[in-house]
Every structure is written in C-alpha cells, then in structure tokens.
C-alpha cells in the first residue's frame, strides 16, 4: 500500500530559487535562511521518498488568464521548467507519475472533488523552489513528483476548509494504491506576506506562529480561517496558506512535528517551514 508518511510546509519565494541558481547562498542576507533548511535537507535525504505530491500555485506561467482551474492535477510523464520572464531555472526536469496521478483523479472525482486534469504543463518557482530547498542541487530529482496546482491568484481561492477536505480525500486515494510507496506531500507558499500596493511588505509573526502551532494542535480551527482574515491580518498573498491545509488534511488526525523554522525576510516574505510526520 502507498502511504503518505509526512507533510512539509514551506514558503516558495522565487528569490530563494534565484539565490540557489546564482550562487548567493553564502551571502549574509541568505545564510540564516539556508542554514535553517539544513536539518530539513538531512531529514529528506534520510526519508528518501518515492513520490512527492507538490501542492503549489502557478504564478501566471503555466496558466494564463484564459482558463483558471481551482485544483489542477498534473498527470504527465514529465513537466518542463517555465521561463518566467528571466529565463528558465537551471534545475532538472520534473518527472511525474502518470499512473498514480490518474488513479488519484478517479478517486478524487468520485469523492466529489471536481479536479482539472492537466496532461501538459510547465512548472514554475512555486514548485521548483521547495524542491531546491529540500533536495538541494542534484543532476536529477531523486523522486517522482505529482504537481497539484491551486488557484490562489484570482480571488477567491478555494476555502481553507475545502482544501483540508481535499487533503483527506488525497490520503484516501493514495492509500488505495497497491504499490508500496513512501509518499511525502508538500503544502507551499505563505506565510504572511503582501507583495502589492502601498501595504506591501506586511508581516504578521503572531499570525504565522499561531498557524504553525495549529497544524499539529488544531487544524480544524485553521481550516475555518476566512479569506478576509488571511487578507486583512496576514497580507493579500497569505491566502496561499490554504495550500498547507491540503497537506495537513492528507496526514490523518495525529501528527508529530519533526522540525520547524521561521525567518524574516526572503524578499517580501515571512518564510515558514515545518515537517509533520504521520503518527
């Protein structure tokens, strides 16, 4: 049986990926951040998952404005790296797992989640920055990746509760797959940040800490945070945190927090990171 053994929450700020690509990891600005991810990289190397389910959002790269899917599951053999306007990141192509992804589609749709099926798509920093943070700079990524792109760009994003319930349905779908696989699910984006308008630069450390605490303590409560509360208290782009709730929902009731890291800033973002192991 395939099993989701852990969940990773992490920001996916593009400047972090750019720092990796341009050899800036040793600069004073970036040292604390990359140091904070060292234990996580070791955890990931020790865990060595077969498959990663990457919950992330596209930033007007794979999807323009013609079609805006709320939940889009990548079912392709591979996903090329998008040129976001400054050249594609020099990271390995992302290998998918079309058989498992197709199984997930069937299971999720029958569980009443109306997924969008994506058979061709490029992936942007939302997916590749977390890969770099947790896997470093290998010649090829060490596991297969199933991308789950969530619309958090055009308001409204799916609610936190809907995301949490989708996570639960993903757990069921994965456990219904016969092959013995170790699966790790990522929820990416956040934490508090706003990157537009006169209010840009907003950071709310109290909100972020309460969110990190709630992931193991009371995820039901987190799933009831309203869109307005995210926008008002944690910044217009903090709504990305609903993607962490998909990850959390996929872990079952009890989890053990294995690692946590929090750092301000990366560009305009409060960076949060957590590793939750399924109990």
């Amino acid at each position: 049986m395939a099993k989701i053994i852990a969940g990773i929450g992490t920001s996916h700020t593009p400047a972090i990926g750019a720092a990796v690509d341009n050899g800036k990891m040793g600069e004073p600005y970036w040292v604390p951040l990359f140091k904070g991810y060292e234990p996580a990289k070791k955890w990931m190397a020790d865990t060595n998952p077969d498959v990663v389910i990457m919950v992330y959002n596209d930033h007007v790269n794979a999807f323009d404005f013609k079609i805006i899917p709320t939940f889009a599951l990548g079912c392709a053999d591979e996903f090329k790296i998008a040129d976001e306007g400054w050249g594609a990141r020099p990271v390995p192509v992302v290998k998918g797992y079309p058989e498992l992804a197709s199984h997930m589609i069937q299971s999720l749709v029958l569980d009443e989640f109306d997924m969008t099926i994506v058979n061709e798509m490029q992936v942007d920093h939302g997916l590749t920055t977390p890969m770099s943070l947790l896997f470093g700079q290998p010649k090829a990524w060490p596991c297969r990746v199933i991308p789950l792109a969530v619309n958090v760009i055009q308001y409204p994003a799916p609610t936190g509760h809907r995301c949490y319930m989708l996570g639960k349905a993903i757990k069921k779908a994965v456990e219904d797959w016969d092959e013995d696989l170790k699966v790790v699910i990522f929820g990416t984006g956040g934490m508090s940040h706003q990157i537009q308008g006169p209010r840009a630069g907003l950071v709310n450390k109290e909100f972020d800490k309460a969110f990190l605490d709630g992931l193991s303590g009371d995820p039901e409560r987190l799933s009831r945070i309203s869109p307005l509360e995210y926008l008002r208290d944690a910044g217009a782009e903090a709504i990305e945190l609903v993607m962490w709730l998909i990850m959390r929902g996929a872990l079952g009731e009890n989890v053990k927090e294995a690692y946590r890291f929090y750092h301000v800033p990366a560009s305009s973002t409060a960076v949060g990171h957590i590793i939750l192991e399924s109990a």
Binding site: D64, G85, I153, A200, G201, V264
Partner: protein, 133 residues
C-alpha cells in the same frame, strides 16, 4: 449597474484581484503575459506605445503602463505576478517594483523587510487609517 461592495475593499493599500478586477484587466494582463517571451520584450522596449496597441486595453491602462504607474495598474486590473514581468523587462527587481508601490526607495523597503517587515497594526482597515472607503 451597481456593484456589490466587498468586505475586503475596506483593507487599505490593497487591490484584491477578484473576478470583477480580473475581467477589467483581462487584456492588460494578456499584454503583461506576452512579456514572458524575449522577442516580445525586445519589441516592446523598442517602441512601447506601438507594442501596447496590439492589445485591446483601455486608454488609462495603456498610459499607466507607459508611466510605470504600478498602483494604478493594480487598480485597473493587473495582477502583481504579471506586473512583475514588466519590471523584469525593465531590468528591475520585484523588490524595486514593490518599493515603488509603497512610495519608499528600494533601500528603505529592503531595510524595512530586514527589520521584520510592516506591522499589520494600523493597516487592517481604512477606518483605522482614517481613510474614506
């Protein structure tokens, strides 16, 4: 035609990219999306106004592009991630664009972030800032 006033319109210094704004900004964002291609970036920079005429946007949207009036562009329906492609076309960073939106210099903005960012206190509602909705 009247429009419903959404609760998030009360958040100061913020233009939520909602369905109404997305509808108004559709052609504007189409222009910004076109800047993902190197040949389009080059063509735009060689004659900005002529290039924008390829896209059926409004006059005020076009003028805001030419003036790099970032906040006006947000108000008129540009989404920040697409706007970033205009900043990159200019050889500027996202932080530069964000600092311009806040009325700070880039250094002031970067320093604010290094000091822990902007506190939400005083920025939660227009009434808190004594602004009119």
């Amino acid at each position: 035609m009247t429009q419903k006033v959404e609760a998030y319109e009360d958040i100061p210094g913020t233009w939520v990219f909602d369905a109404q704004r997305a509808r108004k900004g559709y052609r504007l964002n189409e222009f910004l999306y076109s800047l993902m291609k190197a040949e389009n970036r080059k063509e735009f920079l060689s004659d900005e106004r002529t290039y924008t005429m390829k896209f059926a946007m409004t006059g005020p949207q076009r003028e805001a592009i030419l003036k790099r009036d970032w906040n006006k562009l947000l108000e008129l329906g540009a989404v920040s991630y697409a706007l970033a492609k205009l900043a990159f076309t200019d050889g500027k960073s996202y932080q530069f664009m964000a600092s311009q939106m806040t009325g700070m210099t880039e250094k002031e903005y970067v320093d604010m972030m290094l000091a822990g960012g902007r506190s939400p206190d005083g920025w939660r509602s227009r009434s808190e800032r004594k602004e009119k909705a």
